[in-house]
Symmetry: D4
Subunit: 220 residues, 8 copies
Amino acid sequence: MDNHNIDHDREDRIGFQEVVYGESKSIEDLSHILENFISKDKNVLITKLQKEKAAIFLKKYKDAMYDEPSGIFILKPLKELEDKKEVVIISAGTSDIHVTNEVYYTLKYMGVSSVKLNDIGVAGIHRLMSKIEFLKPFKILIVIAGFEGALPTVIGGLLPQPIIAVPTDVGYGVAKGGHVALNAMLSSCANGISVVNINNGYGAAMSAVRILNLIKNKND
Amino acid sequence: MDNHNIDHDREDRIGFQEVVYGESKSIEDLSHILENFISKDKNVLITKLQKEKAAIFLKKYKDAMYDEPSGIFILKPLKELEDKKEVVIISAGTSDIHVTNEVYYTLKYMGVSSVKLNDIGVAGIHRLMSKIEFLKPFKILIVIAGFEGALPTVIGGLLPQPIIAVPTDVGYGVAKGGHVALNAMLSSCANGISVVNINNGYGAAMSAVRILNLIKNKND
Amino acid sequence: MDNHNIDHDREDRIGFQEVVYGESKSIEDLSHILENFISKDKNVLITKLQKEKAAIFLKKYKDAMYDEPSGIFILKPLKELEDKKEVVIISAGTSDIHVTNEVYYTLKYMGVSSVKLNDIGVAGIHRLMSKIEFLKPFKILIVIAGFEGALPTVIGGLLPQPIIAVPTDVGYGVAKGGHVALNAMLSSCANGISVVNINNGYGAAMSAVRILNLIKNKND
Amino acid sequence: MDNHNIDHDREDRIGFQEVVYGESKSIEDLSHILENFISKDKNVLITKLQKEKAAIFLKKYKDAMYDEPSGIFILKPLKELEDKKEVVIISAGTSDIHVTNEVYYTLKYMGVSSVKLNDIGVAGIHRLMSKIEFLKPFKILIVIAGFEGALPTVIGGLLPQPIIAVPTDVGYGVAKGGHVALNAMLSSCANGISVVNINNGYGAAMSAVRILNLIKNKND
Amino acid sequence: MDNHNIDHDREDRIGFQEVVYGESKSIEDLSHILENFISKDKNVLITKLQKEKAAIFLKKYKDAMYDEPSGIFILKPLKELEDKKEVVIISAGTSDIHVTNEVYYTLKYMGVSSVKLNDIGVAGIHRLMSKIEFLKPFKILIVIAGFEGALPTVIGGLLPQPIIAVPTDVGYGVAKGGHVALNAMLSSCANGISVVNINNGYGAAMSAVRILNLIKNKND
Amino acid sequence: MDNHNIDHDREDRIGFQEVVYGESKSIEDLSHILENFISKDKNVLITKLQKEKAAIFLKKYKDAMYDEPSGIFILKPLKELEDKKEVVIISAGTSDIHVTNEVYYTLKYMGVSSVKLNDIGVAGIHRLMSKIEFLKPFKILIVIAGFEGALPTVIGGLLPQPIIAVPTDVGYGVAKGGHVALNAMLSSCANGISVVNINNGYGAAMSAVRILNLIKNKND
Amino acid sequence: MDNHNIDHDREDRIGFQEVVYGESKSIEDLSHILENFISKDKNVLITKLQKEKAAIFLKKYKDAMYDEPSGIFILKPLKELEDKKEVVIISAGTSDIHVTNEVYYTLKYMGVSSVKLNDIGVAGIHRLMSKIEFLKPFKILIVIAGFEGALPTVIGGLLPQPIIAVPTDVGYGVAKGGHVALNAMLSSCANGISVVNINNGYGAAMSAVRILNLIKNKND
Amino acid sequence: MDNHNIDHDREDRIGFQEVVYGESKSIEDLSHILENFISKDKNVLITKLQKEKAAIFLKKYKDAMYDEPSGIFILKPLKELEDKKEVVIISAGTSDIHVTNEVYYTLKYMGVSSVKLNDIGVAGIHRLMSKIEFLKPFKILIVIAGFEGALPTVIGGLLPQPIIAVPTDVGYGVAKGGHVALNAMLSSCANGISVVNINNGYGAAMSAVRILNLIKNKND
């Protein structure tokens, strides 16, 4: 019996395809999966793919792209998107780039435009305050932070849009692994912030996609 | 200096009022807060208010309502809402009623109609399967579960709407306190599920409100 | 052999007396301790004393005071202090009063004036912003918060004074017990915030006393 | 005194031999153990043996086999088994192969036939539903999952056989290390699921062997 | 919409009925559930029902039985069973009676005979050794222990039957809540022990029922 | 079958009798156990017995003694012992009395004399320094502390005797439950300190008894 | 949009510049940040920079300094400071040097003189006692310890100055990662000790800077 | 100021010298420490020294010995000891050798003879039973186990000597890091077992030395 059982009907059912979690799969298993998608003439997104594995596939699939900080691998080229003020990705620090990029490329793969706004930590609150007008037109705010994870709380008190908070594993001591940021986001005093797993930029992007699909369906 | 500093401008800023977390406030402090809202001729929602405290305020404010399982207290009567298929509240078990009701009354307070669907645990998956058509028209799914918290994952693979998962503290042994349900929801293999704190029905409702406001603005 | 061994020399050594942790001592042991202080004609501070125990001692010692939210008991009346802008006690919510008052009465017992500023949570950041000028003249900022504990971080980016952060046990779900607030404060991206144990208002006050003594000695 | 004290009587006592946990033993100690078994003309199973150590023994013992994903090492060739519908090994994802294979080879070593069914995660519940008839004839279901570990719960509500659930360490963030899957399985709302340690494919297989021996004895 | 959604088809599907977790359900909800079962002329098992709630139902349903240590409530009388050496329930200490009885009554409700063997802790290993012959004829061993939870490991090295280990919450300090016993059982060096949640006597019994059903089917 | 299985041979085997852990046993079970000991004309020690249960047995057994802080119950009067400088029990604070007394009465029951030295916390190190000469003649030091549990470390650097460290559950915030004191004692930089479970005064006393028996045997 | 958003106004606002957390930033990002500071003719401090990254920058910026144990990198030479008895850095063991040096170089960068006193663990309390007179003239005590973290408690009972305690990750078993030292410091029975995150030498230094600035302002 | 401050008086004070924890010290720091001991013509024991560091010192100090599994380094040759039945070191598995050897060499360094008895796990209880007579003459039992850590409990019920239990980090899943073994030992139902930190063979040996010194003093 084969090792893989790809859920190719998922798109019909919920409007988007299964993607592939690359971190703990062998090169052999990933190769079979890629060939399976190619045989169906479909594009595929692999998340959290290590650099060494990516190098092998990049050599084989010349059109593929790979983003090293996030480990995102996409088999076929994506079309460029114009900025429709759909999603803004706000991060507390430059160190959160592995998650910021996972959000960005997942959204792009799903056909959603986004803008990145980096290094807006709450220890320098004026940096955030000066961006409030810039943030207002976006439909959805994805807010990324490690360490004490306070950024979504402050934004949640200032702006009315849906906020998806993503904790990252940036930090040391008690903050190591990202659990403090996660728990701080879950405990937020601000209204209506929802949270995804540590480093789960992919999940945050998909949560935004579900919301944006709702609006689109509304308008059909 | 006074003990309270109510954020009455919040409504202008983000479209909804500050509510009051009742669990750890004294009767004296809550009385001052209630009088402050009355003096401004505003309604107010208090969450997680204990039965004994509620009894005192129900005696004083004859129009107020109180839901014992959830601890929700609302100062002034709310108008009834017709079902606009906005939110469906799905719970895994009858024991989750304290959270189900917190979602229900918060939504009602915010002017959002919702329907409750109880006791749809994944150990009897056919109960869920038979409800899929019923669930399709709703804009947002709020999914509540204690113990192993698997319900949002299964729903996430079957339906395309935004899903807000709420873990509850129902369970014993390793499940005590709700951390297993929370972590299972955060770890979900299903796409795009976002999560709030254990028992945070209020937060899930507000997250839905933010999404619904987005659609409304879209249509203005 | 006697049960107690009070460190009466501590004052000579480090400039302030031993105080008594009341929570887990029996009425009998506390009675002996109080009589010991009375026999030396000294005042004494008891922390975290339960209401039922306090009632017994208040009946016996007519001059004593007791603050129920914090559980602070002081044997002899304290002299009133004029506000010398020494310490400001900032709390994120009304629910933190048990800690706010422990700081306040400990400082007063140590002869240090303080001002309380309640309900300044970061989910309504403008409440904090409007107080910045008010806060500037104080020598030391003691910042108290439960839930996600973000307040000290924001203040730390806005003001240059020594900041002592006190996490409280206000919160539920992951925030239960105060560990999230504690860890968020320890992980703070803001510079030079120091932290004490959950609910340790007494410790924060004593940390401020050590700093203020340093200034006083400087001027001798 | 020698470093080893192999329990060669175990087979008489409980019907199966001691096996060897390879992960934390030195090459020297493992060599002695292997020679001890060879001197008694017995086969031996080593679990969780690292690739580098295995390479040394494979060079020395030409008949030995080694499975890299699981780290299973078996000294002497096993006879092929016909499928008697004894055990089916169901896994949620391709990434769980290290555990799936540990179950498979341990069963084979014990003379029990099994079939593997991979990549049947609950986020695509129809994949499971379509396999129910296939699963019915098997005597025992071993169900393997990482991340949120929901698969045994869903299967437990659909099928009546003994179910042994095996959590794996596949996952990241809160799911890192496999504790979420373990706890979700222990908290399962489904009836009569029993659980083994994270990644303990060996233990799950032995638990199945104990049950199958019971049936065999029954028929003697 | 009603609060309950009982899975009455479960018996057809997996051979045994849904039971009711009583601990976190209100008297009102439990009354509806009981009436529902009565209306279908079925018996029902409620687990972990508190004494105060049970008193109300015992007054109303004269034939019902209630076991206070375990909180087991059974609506209709069960027939007595002869000892067929099906299950033996071994407990490490007298303090584990709340779990021992939950196993015993659940098995009886399911029509399975069992024998209890109490107070066989490993700190007095001769107590266990003297019972080995007594234990040999039983088909399944359910082994219950709190504190360090070592009993299943020792039994696992002495007897060949299926062993279901149940950790209990008996203990203090690091053993409080039963997590040490649980983890010790999961880490057991003995072969093929499977484990259920802390205090989950019900789950252990159902796991035994699944195994016994397998034997019965075998013989049909 | 009876609920109890007392290990009456233990005394022959290891030189001391089984004692009874009272906390989680019912009055009925404890009554049976007490009668069993009386029937064999033996004394018995019950640990951690709650006040309400003790009251019942004190009424029935007029010679019995009960120490409320520790919950120690002893059926028959013990003979007074002269101080042979066997064990000194050093505690960091008056609040640790529940553990101090458990050590004291267990030792007395075992025929070992001890002296208590209370309230010797390391925050007033001179209190300890002034007692060093007093401590030198004792054979064994049992050192009890809650909060940060630093006392055994300091003593371990000053005195050469065997040191048994007992953490207590006195403390709040991170120190709640006694885990910080336990872990600090286990991590001690001082040489050769051994540790027992939180609040396990009984275990510390028995550890001392084992050592003292060794000396006695030496001299036989 | 650029990846960086440096808070260059922080100095005006709170009296000291933003520094750069180097551990999780890429070489590319750090290069941009360094060039940004150079373009403004400012010095910059990078913390926790790995050796391999530092080597690249040391080659490029010939005036820069790098301390390997702590990972401190400073772009431009600092002027030597005379000892003004401002800060003493006391460490429990030689192994804590990575934190000791982070404190030392941060203070130097901020223009504060300090003295290091290493290897003063409490297991040899006389080493501390003999240094008390040496310690008295310093304004602030920064106390660093791993393992059981008892040193700040003992010092806190002996000296009156502000004490900033820094737990380190030196230790193994329960002490691994530094959580025991952290929690012991937070639980300290000594008065007025404040604590920073594990290994956060930088934060401790900045906390001292805030206090010293207070004194300076006092004197202006 | 120098980095080291060796406690050379410890021997006078408590009868044995300071040893050196090697794991987190640099080669440079260790070199200074070794030279310091050499300059005083003393031997020195270094614990947990990594292989790479040891290689450097073995090259330099030709008489030194190094045990790779435990990381023990001893500067000068030790004299051989005859077996005086002082200490027996019992380990549950071959994998525990890193701890077994740390105990063995520390005892030898302290002049105490010991015997090792390996691979006596409780899953094969007869292995232990057959050794009881062998174990009786020893003064002290040091019992080492990873995984579920049950061995000390079983031994504690069979033998009367002082028992020092040492948990090891051998295990995976919930047993990873050794915390299960530690907690199981602390929770032991057997009487008078005392425990040291995970992998702390050195501490167990020193605890034995303290006891043996007591006997020796007794006989002086």
